[in-house]
Symmetry: C2
């Protein structure tokens, strides 16, 4: 069927990374069917996407039975992407049962859909499967150090369970499966109030507030710019070199929280005013991806330096904050 355009189902396609992925797929001429419950999407993402002719939006929650508008189109689906799940701790902890079921029931339903459609399936897993790791950087074979009884477990264990399900479908030949373990990612389309380091720091500084730093700020994050991440996800889905194993996607450039604060301050030309608060339970102290597998097998390398990526993100937040109503809408939608 050389003249039929690929049809991608993108679960979570209105979210931060999902909306960039939809954009990239549309730009190459593919069709996108996006399903999202809008739990943690910045509303502007959807407005922007809805103006594109090959884009369709379905409001739905993958932990509930899939909407008929999706299942009716099973035969036409060529690619299924699971990016659905709130990913920032305050959001995913607000309803931990829903977080778990989104990852397990949601992933199971999408895997069954991929099986029925003969579509390729990609799960966006997470560096959180490594928990608070005892080895650095983290290679894919590292089994992790996750507290399965703690407040982060609904997300961490939900994703681990989603991986287990995905690899079982692969082992049984039920679906053609890819699993990406996404490390911290930042860029335009993040939510201002999602409680994550980059959005927190930028928005607190833009608002003239003190910047919240958990612990002493010496804990590190490795931050990947969203365009690099989407490039990695598409290479993984398109390629045949990484199957039956998970692959880390992230930027190994490790920075302390205080360095990230200082970089944003430099971009804004302000002096940061820091408010130190206690570290939340089970917050990882350090995390850095080993991306050798992605480099070797996907030819992928995150190319955006953090200074450039943060500058673009600051610029975007500035624009958005200038648009009356949109930010208020985003905050009201919480």
């Amino acid at each position: 069927m050389p003249n039929v355009k690929p049809l991608h189902l993108v679960a979570g396609g209105a979210g931060f990374i999902g909306s960039h992925l939809c954009d990239a797929l549309l730009q190459r001429g593919d069709q996108v069917l996006c399903v999202d419950n809008l739990q943690s999407a910045w509303p502007g993402n959807l407005e922007h996407l809805r103006r594109q002719p090959n884009f369709e939006f379905v409001a739905g929650d993958i932990s509930a039975p899939l909407p008929a508008i999706i299942t009716r189109r099973t035969a036409g689906l060529t690619h299924i992407w699971n990016l659905a799940c709130a990913a920032s701790p305050p959001r995913y902890q607000a309803d931990p049962e829903h977080t778990m079921l989104t990852n397990v029931v949601g992933t199971d339903q999408l895997l069954r859909l991929a099986e029925a459609a003969g579509a390729r399936f990609l799960l966006t897993s997470t560096s959180e499967v490594y928990g608070d790791p005892e080895q650095h950087p983290q290679v894919e074979g590292y089994r992790g150090s996750v507290n399965c009884t703690g407040p982060r477990a609904c997300y961490d264990e939900g994703k681990r369970a989603a991986e287990a399900l995905s690899f079982d479908f692969a082992r049984l030949g039920r679906a053609d499966v890819r699993v990406a373990r996404i490390f911290n990612t930042y860029g335009p389309h993040m939510q201002a109030d999602d409680g994550r380091i980059v959005s927190n720091v930028i928005n607190q500084m833009l608002g003239g507030e003190a910047v919240t730093v958990y612990g002493d700020g010496s804990q590190t994050r490795s931050l990947c710019y969203v365009a690099d991440m989407v490039d990695g996800l598409i290479r993984l889905m398109d390629g045949d070199t990484v199957r039956d194993v998970p692959v880390n996607l992230g930027n190994p450039d490790e920075r302390s929280i205080l360095e990230i604060v200082a970089t944003v301050a430099l971009i804004l030309g302000v002096e940061p005013n820091i408010r130190f608060t206690p570290l939340p339970q089970d917050d990882p102290l350090r995390r850095r991806p080993d991306v050798e597998r992605a480099k070797t097998l996907l030819g992928w390398d995150p190319v955006t330096p953090i200074e450039a990526g943060l500058a673009r993100t600051v610029e975007w937040f500035r624009e958005v904050r200038g648009q009356t109503g949109l930010m208020a809408l985003s905050i009201a939608a919480e």
Copy 2:
């Protein structure tokens, strides 16, 4: 309501440990409603229980919507026990998706039922949450070493996810939760063909076959006699000393596979004929519970020496093998 008998819902009550638990609850005069899909129950367990007046059986699978015969009785439920899930690798790997959903969807449904009923809830988790552990003995705070992409993950990660859900219900005050991490248990009512060490060894020897030993037989198991296990579970459910934390239940008496084979051979008075075969993927090499928490907080101690427990188990398998038809039925039900 001093004259109303407690009503226990026992999911998996027709299974190995479940049937002993039902017996113990009935013996103290309580009422038992047992739900089981009979996926891995020895049929004789149910015949025996059905002769008891306070026992009711409902055929059902907790990964599917709960039967109305159960939900109708929500208000009367005082205790909900989740022992449902095939626990031996060949059984739980036969349908890994079902194993995962039994643990996650099944546990979620029973937690919601406990919430609606105001009933106390107990999850039987497993030593498998520690995976192939790097520390011995395993204390409850150890985060484990589980391969979340391997063929055992459907069970191990399913149970870890079930724990995460249970503790979230506890943290939110939605249910009064207990979590036991059960280590290897053996005794009457095991299935002859469940692929586990004790049933394998006894039945192969009773049948005059060579005994299958995976690897070189130097890997260890700590085996708890089922009566001790049930005593621990009941203390945990009844007491108020262990809440919001998991508790190991198992016998710390660690023996190598070859020692277990030799003990059974001694009981039977035969010379073992061993067939060594390769170790399956992700098979734990060693596992031993630290049971200080159970000793201190529940006053529990596994009291049955392995020689006595194995002798009773051999006796039971001998009787069962003598009953024409029953064993054949068990094998046909697979």
